[in-house]
Assembly symmetry: D5
Homo-oligomer: 96 residues x 10
């Protein structure tokens, strides 16, 4: 099942650079693992913002929440989730 | 270049059924043509709404506007566009 | 899987009474069928509004969208969907 | 009487882990006591957010406010309350 | 129990004057009956708007919804309800 | 003249308990004095929030502003004021 | 007493020109009468909009509401009122 | 030319009293100078808020921005500007 | 002086095509005249919307309002105006 | 390709003056370089705010994001991007 997720990151500017770097490195590693496993199907940067649009493909809502809420940047993100389903006009094999 | 487009359709309930069907049939035909050509890369229904999330892949903003503004349902849609770019953590070949 | 759905109904006051009654009667019949089948798990009226809060229990997002979008009042409703998951502090057997 | 309550939790990321854990442990204990007593009838996590949707079943508005405002996380939560009543189309015994 | 209710009235300007007058006359009669019975405890006009702030004193949420949703102007009003409770600093006998 | 005032209190959670208690004690004393004098005619708690709905009865807007802006919690409150007037359907002696 | 009033006018484009002209002519006559009497102290057009910012100087909120709600364009306007008082830094004789 | 300016002041409550007083004293002095010169034509307090409504009368937008952005409280204010012009129904000599 | 103007056009879909075409043709003619005279300095389409971003260069706010409010599409547009001034970091000759 | 960018700057008032000055000096230098190269085509101050409206002319969305996200003030800005395209009524050579 597909879910559309928007994540806006709000790292406090006063966070020490080393701490921020460590968080982002760990975040990237986990995000790439989820992508490799097929759970995090798409990941795009919104131009001009420290924010992304993601498409998750999961077995259940619980799996989705676990994936998102264990991200290292989760405490610093504002997140909105919208469930998606196949559009009757879609001709693409990978839209569901 | 990728653009994230949200389209909310507001067909007036009093529109004659034949007129609505004709509009939707033509819309579907054009949408599928744009998908086949690769311009309309993804198309998902937002669950519970007469709305969709789309990803367009176009050469220019002008091409994007032409594609959207010539859709038969354009006069009945509220549309929001966000430019996307490749995310530094993406490992997917088809995210840019 | 559980989804939290808010439905606000906007029937135009000028709709003929017979038409409105027919729509509502059919809506009620379908809503009660979905409740009996266990798909529409809870249904509450928001006090002071022609609106409801519902909890759906479905196998997939597609099933959710089909259930909502085929309701007779769908063209007259503004709808918002939020996916829910089990809360770690819940002790209730019927919260997931 | 039933009330729909949405709670968004905003714990400052800089709160010491021990303090946060103590708050959450106490919150869980109280939340489970209110569930056992039947006052806090449902408790769900909103997917992707540190937030919940709850249904309270109380004798009065004062009882509702006392239950909510004495939660350990109350100073860190943004809360919205909507009174609910039985929906005329509900066939469920536990919707009122 | 007390509930704070804001009602914004949106009568279409094209409604025939006789129809509007009949609706308002009936509304006034019912509103005054509810005031006399003590259910509609306060009723104020918001300056500059066709809107009111009301305080209802009812036995239950169901009673509140029935009172509001059977008003003749209900189909033309946007309504928001907030439950109120006694404020710990209130010294007034009629604030609960 | 009557004014509808909504006050949302935002005390920073990190404020020392003694300081918060002192502020609230002084606030309560002043609020009760204004109630006794008849200037602060009603004071209700909004259920589930650290917020209140108040009705002030003052001789002038200047008197209203002085009363509100000298409250000890004023620097920590978000406040909205709406002027009220007698509703033509009110039958209550104390609604103006 | 001074009140800041913003009026946004929404005349339906399909209103017959003669009807619109009659409404505006009558509105202008009344507005100028209220200005001459000193009740409508200032009247400015918001650039680019069919809207105005006005300052009323009235004896009471009831007088303000009567002045506004009897304007011929009242059924077509969205109106917001804010009470004003003398600013401690004002040196102008006509700011209160 | 006239501009309508709304200024909301957000001084952090933890600012030392002496610093706040110094800022406000300087602000008042400059505001009164601009009033005396005729540039700051009106200045009113919004009742119940640490905010004001001002009317500026300047030769250019640059002059307006310079006046506002050099105010001592500028870093602590949220500001909205709307250009005004003479209203065709105004009969007042000082409304343009 | 420069003003940033956003215009959103809302032509009712049921307007006869000939009437819409006539309005747009006249609008285009006037817009091009204002561009040629230098008053309407820039005009861009917002991608995906029947809306534009414009930069006007006028002698006064009155001139701006006259230019906008006499456009044939004015009754069908939602318009927002923001005054602009030269940015201290601009190196462009045509930014003021 | 053209993009409309609004940048609102929120420098914390408690930032040391030297740090703020260094940031702004570097920001100005980079902004002027981008203007000289033609990438940052227009830059205007929004009157009364620490904010700007900019028009970027770039080859791709990635180039736009790189330009914006490497600005020294990026961590302190709230930014909104809208893609623009040539307006069919534009007669200006430099509007595309």
């Amino acid at each position: 099942m597909l879910f559309h997720v928007r994540m806006n990151v709000n790292l406090p500017p006063e966070m020490p650079a080393a701490e921020a770097t460590a968080l982002k490195t760990k975040e990237k590693e986990i995000a790439q693992g989820l992508q490799s496993s097929g759970k995090w199907r798409h990941l795009w940067r919104i131009a001009g913002q420290y924010a992304n649009i993601s498409i998750f493909d999961v077995e259940s809502v619980d799996e989705l929440h676990t994936a998102i809420s264990t991200l290292p940047l989760f405490p610093y993100m504002q997140i909105e989730v919208m469930p998606l389903c196949r559009h009757p006009s879609s001709v693409r094999g990978d839209d569901s």
